[in-house]
Symmetry: C2
């Protein structure tokens, strides 16, 4: 199979209340990625965009076509993919196949969301359009409720009393805030203590405010290229070693498997298999911590810890930059932010920075990282993983 | 390149006011397609769905994941693509690349829309989310207005007085209604005369009601497979010989090129080149007649007629089933209907029927058709073309 590399990255600051439109945010970061990749807009053969709700947020669907035109990529195929919070990674996976197939050599990938245009109650409703709308959303299964339920299930399944689990979950958020303070792109840059988490307002029992990621505006972009071209254009291409994607039905169809997420286990297995790697080979991970419990579950499903042990691992520092498996050294969705369509592309940028070794100045470089994995989960189980390799 | 074939089709009746949800419509047609392809749900390796506004129509985004689960395609990668009215064809093009790359062997493609859940004023607003929302929609550039403007431009550019052009345009709608009456899947099955068109209510000068396609609910599905597998499963696989896709900026960026649609010319050139064919080789065409003027422009951009001559060609019968280039023998968007996400997949079904030679009973078979092309245009110029070959 023809190898595909990341040769350029662009990353907006993740924030509340962007004054720029999605098209403007995306155009800026896309042009940054092209500059870093040493390619001109006319060299780009296709554009894939992850975006979940441009129609609700700005009255703008099909924004990929206007963005392509805006940055001078005239008339190229421009495709928007939507899989809720996995949209960005799905866009990257489509770009990957067009290059590995030999049909294209250079493809631009973007992700963007401007969720904070919406007032919180409406944003919550719009996000819930990705939950099953006929049977489960009407019963109250918006995402905080679903993940609240997963806390209870996790507690019961693994025999960890809820107060103890909540302490572990708090540790996840605390670590994320600590690293976000070192990440200039992060949305929330203030310290957080375990007490802050446990004293924060209740959202959906047992999830409190600081167990939950924020609504976010932001954009991220990467340029992908075939290996031979990548080597000519940049000094340190970072390769896509494996990709995986899986889906799931509504929550009720997954009841017997919960709190494990089967789609994540299958998706990551696809990626590991394609890369010829195992979880033990991975040096750094960006995973989908939309809620603190989600991080714990994801780390286990990705194969880093035995089931029921990830919360304790976080407490022991195993997930820190110098730990056994550094996780969300960016600040994660919790503190770096979660601009839905951009989240997965932002994760690929972050792992690229780590594998290039460019984060020492920020005090959050994972030393000697050679392999990294990204993980996004949309809706009730649209999971996409990308494994990146330093060479 | 590994050849890819259509081995199964599923097609709902296109209609007003479906009582079924998008998920239900899509599941039914997908299962029909799997049956026709002689494959089981467990054989399907991925699902690509074209859908434009499930979130607005039913409060349901990310519906691909629930549909995959509903039909027993558990945990497969399921990806929704959105490019307005091109969404379905874009889904087919993504499926194509995954098979031609060798990564998958059997992939399901679906398209669905349930637009008539929305009252007409709201549907019109929702459709307009695909127009440029910052500069052009606020000026009134909803689609009837845009295509109304194209009538004036076409009239001026080609020196055809507007009343004469309107007669030609009426001929497009009349032919579509005639063939739709022979198509059991068609939404509108009643005769239409030129006088009916010219006496119908004015929508956006000079477009009258019967120059415009209706809002539609419906679904369509195809199963794609690699050539070697296709030959084992079905008697008459129909091959995808070429695909093309191109984008465009907002209307104002295209002013110098209008009334020609540059994205369409580039997209179809890609498809012709991949197929090693020219417009003269094509035996049957399904093109995007969202408005009667759109059909005339599309037929010219696809290379079937000199610019400024397609309207007269329609009048002379060149586009009839026994004409020089049979166009929209299904009834087209005007009368077969236009369930946005499903439209392109429905076109591929229709060309597949024609190339299999199975429409004689319906009295609308294009005799000896070997090559067919589909054409969809979303928003202000997201164009996708697929060329199909009987062998």
């Amino acid at each position: 199979m023809r190898r595909v590399a990341v040769i350029g990255t662009g990353h907006s600051k993740f924030m509340f209340n962007s004054e720029k439109t999605s098209t403007e945010m995306m155009a800026e970061t896309a042009l940054d990625a092209l500059r870093e990749a040493n390619v001109q807009p006319k060299d780009v053969q296709a554009f894939f965009l992850g975006n979940a709700w441009g129609d609700f947020e700005e009255g703008q669907a099909t924004l990929q076509t206007y963005i392509a035109n805006e940055i001078g990529c005239f008339n190229i195929p421009a495709t928007r993919v939507e899989g809720a919070c996995s949209s960005g990674t799905m866009a990257a996976r489509e770009a990957f196949v067009w290059i590995t197939s030999g049909l294209y050599d250079i493809v631009l990938v973007g992700g963007v969301e401007r969720a904070t245009t919406l007032p919180v109650p409406l944003a919550t409703r719009v996000f819930a359009t990705c939950a099953d709308s006929r049977y489960e959303y009407p019963l109250g299964f918006i995402y905080p409720a679903s993940f609240g339920m997963l806390c209870h299930l996790y507690s019961k399944t693994h025999g960890i009393p809820l107060p103890r689990l909540k302490e572990m979950m708090a540790g996840v958020s605390v670590q994320s805030h600590e690293y976000a303070m070192k990440n200039p792109y992060a949305q929330i840059q203030k310290p957080l203590t375990k007490e802050d988490v446990l004293n924060s307002p209740m959202i959906a029992t047992p999830l409190q405010l600081h167990d939950c990621c924020p609504f976010t505006d932001g954009a991220a972009a990467i340029v992908l290229a075939a290996e031979d071209i990548a080597k000519k254009l940049v000094e340190k291409p970072v390769y896509i070693a494996g990709v995986g994607q899986a889906s799931a039905g509504r929550i009720s169809s997954q009841a017997d498997y919960y709190p494990r997420i089967r789609a994540r286990e299958l998706s990551s297995q696809q990626a590991y298999k394609m890369a010829g790697l195992t979880p033990q080979d991975i040096d750094v991970c960006e995973l989908h911590d939309c809620f603190s419990i989600a991080a714990i579950i994801a780390a286990e499903c990705l194969g880093f810890f035995e089931f029921g042990t990830a919360g304790a691992a976080w407490e022991k520092g195993a997930t820190r930059a110098d730990g056994k498996i550094p996780i969300n050294i960016s600040g994660g969705l919790k503190a770096k932010g979660h601009p839905v369509g951009a989240t997965g592309v932002g994760q690929i940028c972050e792992i690229t920075y780590q594998l290039r070794g460019q984060l020492a100045e920020q005090g959050r470089q994972v030393e000697g990282a050679k392999y990294g994995i990204t993980d996004t989960m949309g809706a009730d189980g649209v999971v996409t993983n990308v494994i990146l390799a330093a060479q």
